[in-house]
Symmetry: C2
Subunit: 428 residues, 2 copies
């Protein structure tokens, strides 16, 4: 029996995991490498950051997901580099040979050349990010309750969210719900409904990648939720107690103790390392330019998918860094490998845009679907349905639904725990 | 309007929270101080440590629990001392005057004079302890999968639990379930069912505080779960890769990378500080000796309840550090305060032992009830019923039940996340 074709997949996100699953019936040996032992359903991470769901509700152990797939194994590890010539992944504690490599290590936050801002304005990419943001939000209310100086109290009750893409809008909506509903009557000295939520966006409207009519609907929903939207606003400074903005040429400063980052993302550093090693090119965000079949130029045995890939064919700009793109590319990567082993040729990857959805608070959303543009409650129902449908990797999606329905109907967010770190970083 | 009687309660555990709730209708102002923002249902902490439940399932935000109680407020803070003469609690950032003080700050682990063991053998008292233990258990299997040396592999697959009280027995049972059921088929190079679980106990039987017949039943259940029980075994050393024991005079060493501590507890340090300040006495475990009405000798305005109190009246030894004692003492403390304000006298505190329960794995338990001693499945049903009943502070107890039933019937433990710390502390 000859050695089977070895496929190594780096990254167990939407792209990598879907690729592994789609290789289920192919005559290959799949090794999925991730530094975490779980797949994360990132679109609901904002619910963890705001205490509506627990981390385990949106994380599925990779070994559990793949346990019935006989040709797949999971390896907890992190690739520090790739030896393209000898076709080996370099791990911290060893090497891993491959015949075909799928690189799907995704992206992380980017602070536009100001890495020092991260300390004051955490982003939302990992479970730890989410519990840290949850901790800061809840501690801010606790600190406000303890503060007797009215002015200082109001800086604790001011939350600035930088970036009005889907994550920023979702965080703003959930924060508003916390302030107005969840924490109602829980404090004796402050009124949480006096909370000020400022959503800052450099473009001229919220959800700038959506059609203008939906941006307007989202802006209306945000207004009803008491969220202040600052568009055309460039962040010029983030300190511990304030955010500096440049709004249509004028400087202003917002005193705020809690700043959340939902703006820039940058491809994982493995992209640049691989580019150097393989003589490939990256764009400004660190994404690798790929061929129409998602391979690296001149390296047909290396495929790059998801947030790490810059796929700009058919006259379109790079595809956005969303789950849908990663999932479709993961499936394509698996089909390509299977076709090659049969000596067949596959046409180029084509992205089918099934639409975009963003939710704003309890029962409003905007949906930009191929034949339909919706906002308000109907859009929210579609959002809910699609998100539940897509948590297909999750054995516990019923539980997530129950938890969710519970939070929804009781206005409660039971996962409101301040954990980790010192409980008193009131001087963050 | 005169100032109402001020009751300050330190600690939001079973005793402190129950006292606050029982003062609901009394003409007092209650301030509940805790350094965490949630009440923790400690009896189920082992389920979090073994991935069966999420932290939020067993933690209820204190503000949420007390939000409808108009005469109570919650303060996130930690008492660093008590000024007995001026009747003030000293906080990190201020002072808090009281008319009556209830001290209910509980206990933490104790390593019998070997604080250096803690690094290698974490105990199970907080949410962070539980997620750290969960991390170590899951990482041990990951490390074993990566290890090629057969001997080293087996040290990763050996788990030693020190202390065969209820917590140790529960941890051992849950670990066995993880090894035999949950992780089945999830690994490709190791067989998790080869895991060795050693439960070490200094007394001559497991569950030494239970009747001998129930200890024997528990030992039988543990054997069926493939747990090795070492009784009469004193721990003499805990290093990173082994545990040294003295068993009936003979020294032995168990090579094991994961050691969990379920043995000694010690009263919170506030006990000794208060003893010094008030001229009171503490026992060897740091518990304050209290009067028949739970007050400190000569200090009728200070009550000590729960794990921090040594209540040894009616010829009995000190009451055990269990939830039931704390709950009954919390209720008594509230009744005492209410009676005094009416000028009434209350008889001494009497503990009503409603029995003890410990669970061993999926469907076995032992129950030592006033008129009934049970083991096996019937005891487990009682255990389940009582635990669900007692999560009364939890708005989400229905959710806990659903989560639990899910884990139970699917053999899955969905909260199996390795979070926090570096994902690669393989050289712990």
């Amino acid at each position: 029996m000859g050695q089977r074709h070895r496929v190594v997949i780096l990254g167990g996100g939407f792209g990598g995991l879907r690729a592994a699953q789609a290789l289920r019936s192919s005559p290959v040996e799949v090794t999925l490498v991730d530094r975490r032992n779980f797949h994360l359903f990132q679109p609901l991470l904002y619910q963890v950051a705001t205490g509506g769901l627990s981390p385990a509700n949106i994380a599925a152990p990779l070994r559990g997901v793949l346990k019935k797939q006989k040709n797949a194994e999971v390896l907890l590890g992190e690739a520090s580099g790739i030896d393209v010539a000898s076709r080996r992944v370099i791990l911290q504690d060893g090497e891993l040979p491959y015949d075909t490599l799928i690189v799907a290590t995704g992206s992380s936050h980017h602070y536009f050349g100001h890495p020092d801002w991260e300390h004051f304005a955490p982003g939302l990419k990992t479970i730890e990010d989410a519990t840290e943001i949850r901790r800061r939000i809840l501690l801010a209310f606790e600190a406000a309750e303890r503060e007797t100086n009215r002015e200082k109290q109001s800086t604790w009750l001011t939350f600035v969210i930088v970036g009005a893409g889907p994550t920023g809008v979702e965080l703003a909506g959930a924060l508003s719900e916390i302030a107005h509903d969840t924490l109602r009557r829980e404090f004796r000295r402050i009124d949480p409904s006096e909370t000020r939520i400022v959503l800052v966006e450099a473009a001229d409207r919220v959800l700038p990648t959506y059609p203008a009519a939906l941006s307007a609907a989202a802006a209306g929903s945000l207004k009803r939720l008491d969220v202040t939207v600052e568009t055309g606003a460039m962040v010029t400074g983030v300190e511990g107690q304030s955010v500096s903005l440049q709004v249509t040429g004028k400087s202003q400063s917002i005193p705020a103790r809690t700043v959340l980052w939902a703006a820039g993302v940058q491809a994982s550093p493995l992209g640049r390392a691989l580019a150097q090693e393989a003589g490939a090119d990256v764009d400004r965000a660190g994404r690798l330019f790929v061929e129409p079949d998602l391979t690296l130029p001149g390296r047909p045995e290396i495929l790059v998918i998801g947030d790490l890939a810059n796929f700009s064919h058919q006259g379109n700009g790079p595809l956005p860094g969303v789950a849908q793109v990663a999932i479709q590319q993961g499936k394509y990567a698996a089909r390509l490998i299977t076709a090659r082993l049969k000596g067949e040729v596959l046409p180029a990857f084509v992205y089918r845009d099934r639409g975009s959805l963003a939710t704003i608070g309890r029962a409003a959303a905007v949906a930009d679907l191929p034949r339909l543009r919706l906002s308000g409650f109907p859009a929210w129902l579609i959002w809910l349905f699609i998100h539940l449908l897509y948590i297909v990797e999750f054995e516990n999606r019923l539980l997530v639904l129950v938890q969710w329905a519970w939070s929804y109907f009781t206005f409660n967010r039971s996962a409101r725990l301040i954990t980790g770190g010192s409980p008193f970083p009131f001087d963050l």
